[in-house]
Symmetry: C2
């Protein structure tokens, strides 16, 4: 018998992270005009949440050094949320100065990754975030919390669902609107995702959770299917599977938005995105970056037309 | 809440189709020695069902013209099934002459694909198969039935679950041991797979069914997860995602055995395959074929080691 999936959402919100998570590791500078065009193309395709930039120290992430300029230059669409990463008060001030619609913070579920990624312990990161979340909220900006390495850490290996639950609970208590569960290195499988969500969902409602998968081991869509079946209705993805390092084979990027949209179409789940326009958006940015399109659905569509 | 998957099998049988379905469309002749090595490597990795060749007319599939020689030269391992495609009596005679352990037949679930692929209607194909199945069974050879295009046809578009059920019923009634449901062009999603299996499983037990996905649109692992959740315990796959045409971007091959094994490991489902050895097998044949390894899990593992 095939199971009935009564919890599966009828509509999903796609959080497009290509302009930020996708581009931040590109080895060559991406022109501001190309970033601007990407935002335009993604909004044209119907995506209504664009993670557009990152207000971090320019020396740490040079590719995002022009986020202020991008926010100032961009053509704001009605109904589209333009979000940015703000790891500290300085970042939040920059985000407020240019009028970001929403901000996001990054915590890690492993101590070693926290140290390597944001130079502090998990507890210290939460102390640092508290005033940022409070100030953002006072300014009327919703805050999104990210948790990295929820299904595995490159330094520590396995991460327990309990560690993720503790951090999720704290980020929500501190005022985050939702928490995005990130399998940063893409090692998780459907089984891991089931175990994690089985631990979280009795306490945290699915409306407070998003999933953020990387397709490093090809498991992202199967993981997303598990999340959908559990009632989660917010999915992070990047057009053309941007992300990772194009010079390191195997260091795959985010799950491709096109592949997610193709899955959702087949499941009859609404998302508001025009797949044809999305594919063109992906092709345009891949052409700028001189990299292959990592979306299998996009490649299949493009191949079918020729 | 995360669903309980009580029907999910505890052990899965992997049908390795790389040596046949994977290699048959390669544009350059693959040396017999490389095919022999591939079978050795796959058996070393623990795969116990190898679809080794195809006894079709050499002009139709030149790449398989040496299947007789391959079967005669191969080093038969105890406990490994060496299978071959035998579309007609002539093919079956060749398979019997070289001692194939099992044979397979191909039917299509769309009339146009049947005409284009095997030059006859679906009804005519069944008439042609009847004496082949009978003769194979008389000779003690089990017969596997394939159905192509179960989730979509490149000429007709949608294929109804009813058409697949009718054909499945007939192939099993004619004596096929099991029927492998093939999404030949890789267009199916988890939703399509659910709808197909919901139509088949009330009549056909999951132990009579296998699934055969191509990763053209990146959906294969999500589809396999649906099949596992419905109790299906036989999965076709090809090492390194062999198959398709390497000169046509987007014409992806079979789902990569490595990616399936990685999924099964995470789900705690037994399969008997050593992933490290499997990755080496995939790397060796990709090197011979001068093509990229299409397994994301394999690329991620190899990248992690460097």
């Amino acid at each position: 018998m095939v199971e009935q999936h009564t919890q599966r959402p009828t509509r999903v919100r796609l959080i497009e992270v290509g302009p930020r998570d996708g581009l931040q590791n590109e080895p060559h500078p991406v022109p501001l005009s190309a970033k601007h065009q990407l935002l335009e193309d993604l909004a044209d395709a119907g995506l209504d949440y664009l993670e557009a930039g990152s207000f971090v120290h320019p020396q740490r992430v040079p590719q995002m050094a022009d986020s202020d300029a991008l926010f100032q230059a961009m053509n704001r669409r009605c109904g589209v949320t333009y979000a940015a990463l703000t790891p500290n008060m300085k970042g939040l001030e920059r985000a407020l100065a240019v009028g970001a619609d929403e901000v996001a913070l990054f915590a890690a579920s492993s101590e070693t990754f926290s140290q390597k990624n944001i130079n502090c312990s998990i507890a210290e990161s939460l102390e640092r975030f508290a005033p940022v979340i409070a100030a953002a909220t006072n300014a009327g900006l919703p805050v999104r919390g990210y948790i990295s390495c929820v299904l595995g850490c490159p330094y520590e290996g396995a991460v327990t669902p309990g560690a993720v639950l503790t951090l999720t609970r704290e980020l929500l208590a501190m005022g985050c609107r939702e928490v995005s569960l990130g399998d940063t290195i893409g090692v998780g499988t459907a089984g891991d995702t089931e175990r994690l969500l089985a631990h979280l969902l009795p306490e945290v409602g699915p409306e407070r959770l998003a999933v953020h998968f990387h397709d490093t081991y090809g498991q992202a869509l199967a993981n997303i299917l598990v999340a959908l079946n559990a009632g989660i209705a917010t999915i992070d993805s990047a057009v053309a599977g941007l992300g990772g390092c194009p010079f390191a084979p195997g260091a795959a990027g985010n799950v491709a938005t096109e592949d997610v949209v193709y899955l959702l179409n087949g499941l009859g789940i609404e998302h508001g995105v025009d797949l044809d326009k999305l594919i063109l958006a992906g092709e345009r940015i891949c052409s700028v970056l001189e990299r292959d399109n990592a979306s299998r659905a996009a490649r299949a569509y493009l191949n079918r037309r020729t």
